[in-house]
Symmetry: C2
Subunit: 108 residues, 2 copies
């Protein structure tokens, strides 16, 4: 998958996932890989900065949770503002797809 095409889609993807429930970083990567049948692996260098930015904007929040074995995970949960932002992003996404499709689609 062309890296440039992915740009800008990450927040939409993350918020969509988190709207189903809290998740931690590693889990997000594995979930994306699994759901796409391995065709798309979200990279850490893209994931963590994106999560931190969403948190800074207060669209999501995070908390550490200790596992039975003593190890820690950082969970991210969507906030009210994030849900609203997600709705806007979804509309924007649809507009974008329709726009490009309008050029690609007609004869191809």
């Amino acid at each position: 998958m062309d890296r440039e095409l992915l740009k800008g889609s990450t927040p939409l993807l993350l918020l969509s996932l988190l709207s189903e429930g809290p998740m931690y970083g590693y889990q997000i990567i594995e979930t994306v890989r699994a759901r796409t049948g391995g065709s798309y692996t979200l990279k850490e260098g893209a994931l963590y900065p994106a999560l931190h930015k969403l948190e800074a904007a207060e669209f999501i929040s995070s908390y550490w949770e200790t596992q039975p074995n003593g190890r820690e995970r950082r969970y991210y949960a969507i906030q009210a503002g994030g849900t609203a932002f997600l709705d806007a992003k979804k509309r924007e996404w649809k507009q974008f797809v329709d726009m490009v499709q309008g050029f690609v689609g007609p004869r191809g």
Copy 2:
């Protein structure tokens, strides 16, 4: 429209347009604006570098044409390699849309 979302879609858009026939820069901008009902204006700072890059890759070629009033326009025409590349890009685009839709779509 979010600038980041647009990234990577420009070559696809340009090649799609040029596959309908040769066009010049200004015309491309106006055509895109018209077809999207004004909601998307392709910027010159994105258009010209993209065209030049496509030409450097020999996906398109260019030629100057003098108008009746003496002014010049630079027309761009798609090449065989460009058509093949366009097909690949279209497949990639479909994969990309399906992928994102897989996350956004289910519950939204």
